[in-house]
């Protein structure tokens, strides 16, 4: 049941991203699935985050019409790195979270780029530039979303503590 929920949440993130991207050009550069992975790695379970990364990546490959595995590999790796950093460092600082999401996004894109080379697949010259822009926009959006989530959790905790 838990893994069905993971798959559904991944699927919804991709659908939301596609719909937003169709209507607003800039949303093409927002990687909602990576934010979902980061949420899972930071707030839930690192192990589950790896599965979310893999499932989301494979779904993304299917939607993009790519051979399955490019994004599956990249997103799983990103999930691992986010989980690892979240465990070892204090990531409550805003700038730290921003840097973490941007780095994870860059790592994901870079691994896909390397896999392209390994699989002898040609790629667009603007792939790396666009990936960097995607990383920055995703980093900013993720940081804002996480800050909002923290505020919400704090407010709920305050309410619960009041007599």
């Amino acid at each position: 049941m838990k893994y069905l929920f993971l798959a559904i949440s991944s699927f919804l993130a991709i659908i939301a991203q596609m719909i937003a991207g169709s209507n607003f050009f800039l949303f093409n550069f927002l990687d909602l699935s990576l934010i979902l992975i980061a949420y899972w790695a930071v707030y839930r379970s690192r192990i589950q985050a790896l599965f979310v990364g893999s499932i989301t990546g494979l779904l993304l490959d299917a939607v993009l019409g790519w051979p399955l595995g490019y994004n599956g590999f990249g997103k799983t790796l990103a999930a691992f790195v986010i989980g690892l950093v979240a465990r070892r460092f204090n990531i409550s600082e805003v700038w730290m979270r921003f840097a973490l999401i941007v780095s994870a996004s860059c790592l994901s894109s870079l691994s896909i780029y390397v896999l392209f080379g390994l699989m002898q697949r040609s790629y667009s010259n603007i792939f790396l530039g666009a990936s960097l822009m995607q990383a920055l926009i995703t980093g900013a959006a993720g940081t804002i979303l996480f800050a909002a989530l923290d505020s919400y959790i704090s407010a709920q905790a305050h309410k619960a503590n009041q007599p």
């Binding site: 192990i47 790896l50 993009l64 019409g65 595995g69 599956g72 699989m119 002898q120």
Partner: protein, 301 residues
């Protein structure tokens, strides 16, 4: 009152790695059983062979020495026979090529006698674009027509200004279209001015590569490129794009870049050709052409 945000529970490093490695391997294996190298060999098979190669080499070198003379003799004997057969077939092919050239010239002469346009009417299905992936990533889009509407696999997809791509996946009410800019896409084309055939390949960029045009050909910027019909997917005579760059390369072929006529970034509606109306080109085409507007087309082309 300071409230601590509860983060993910701490997990031992080894446990995460134990999950990470199989997942990464799973993705790599998935990729390797789908992706082929330029020669068409599955990368998985290539890698397996690569791993097996040293073992094979060691085993074969043991028996190689004793069998060399005998095998070389057999091989040379076979080569002589094969050489004789190849020369014979070369002579036959040269004869066929001459015959084909004569037929082409005859076809051209007959065509000039028939006052018909190049455009052939086909049955088309109109479709809306309902989704697209960022162009720099995939160069595919989704349309709201599927097998229930008569859309078939490999059906050519057009806009008002030219070829967009072909259908690569079909569901009942939707289809996935691979744009001509996709690195996996290619079309058989010819240059309208010189009638030189070539192969147009997507690069992932907004412009396309036109390959297999000899360096001796005169190709100029602005030359119109249209489908040749030789790929068995796109019928002949569909407008594809125009040449934006043409120069001699280091190989025997020219380096030619082509810009599609269709604005692939802003497509909202497309036409999909119905497979049953598309015929492969034949030497009798000039006699089967129908005038524009006639025939059983429910859409228009």
């Amino acid at each position: 009152v300071s409230i601590e945000i509860e983060l993910a529970p701490k997990i031992k490093e080894g446990r995460a790695l134990a999950v990470l490695v199989p997942l990464l391997l799973l993705n790599l294996t998935l990729l390797s059983v789908q992706v082929r190298d330029p020669a068409g060999t599955l990368l998985f098979r290539k890698w397996v062979l690569l791993a097996e190669a040293p073992i094979f080499n060691a085993a074969s070198s043991a028996s190689k020495t004793t069998l060399n003379l005998w095998r070389d003799y057999i091989w040379l004997h076979g080569a002589r026979e094969e050489n004789r057969r190849l020369q014979e077939s070369l002579r036959q092919l040269a004869g066929q090529a001459t015959e084909l050239k004569q037929l082409q010239q005859e076809n051209l002469r007959l065509r000039s006698l028939v006052t018909l346009g190049e455009t052939i009417p086909y049955t088309t299905t109109g479709a809306h674009v309902v989704g697209r992936t960022p162009n720099y990533m995939a160069n595919v889009l989704y349309v709201d027509r599927g097998s229930a509407d008569g859309v078939g696999l490999d059906a050519p997809v057009l806009s008002g200004s030219g070829v967009i791509g072909r259908v690569v996946l079909v569901w009942r009410h939707n289809a996935q279209v691979q744009l001509i800019t996709n690195p996996d896409a290619s079309i058989g084309v010819l240059l309208d001015r010189t009638r030189t055939p070539g192969v147009l390949k997507g690069t992932g960029d907004p412009s396309l590569d036109l390959g297999y045009i000899s360096s001796s050909e005169q190709v100029e910027v602005g030359d119109v490129v249209m489908s040749s019909g030789l790929d068995g997917i796109f019928p002949k005579g569909l407008m594809v794009g125009k040449v934006v760059e043409s120069r001699k390369g280091s190989s025997i072929f020219r380096i030619i870049r082509v810009e599609p006529f269709a604005d692939l970034m802003h497509i909202e509606e497309v036409s999909i050709l119905r497979r049953e109306t598309i015929r492969p080109p034949s030497s009798e085409d000039s006699f089967e052409l129908k005038p524009k507007g006639s025939g059983n087309n429910d859409g228009s082309q």
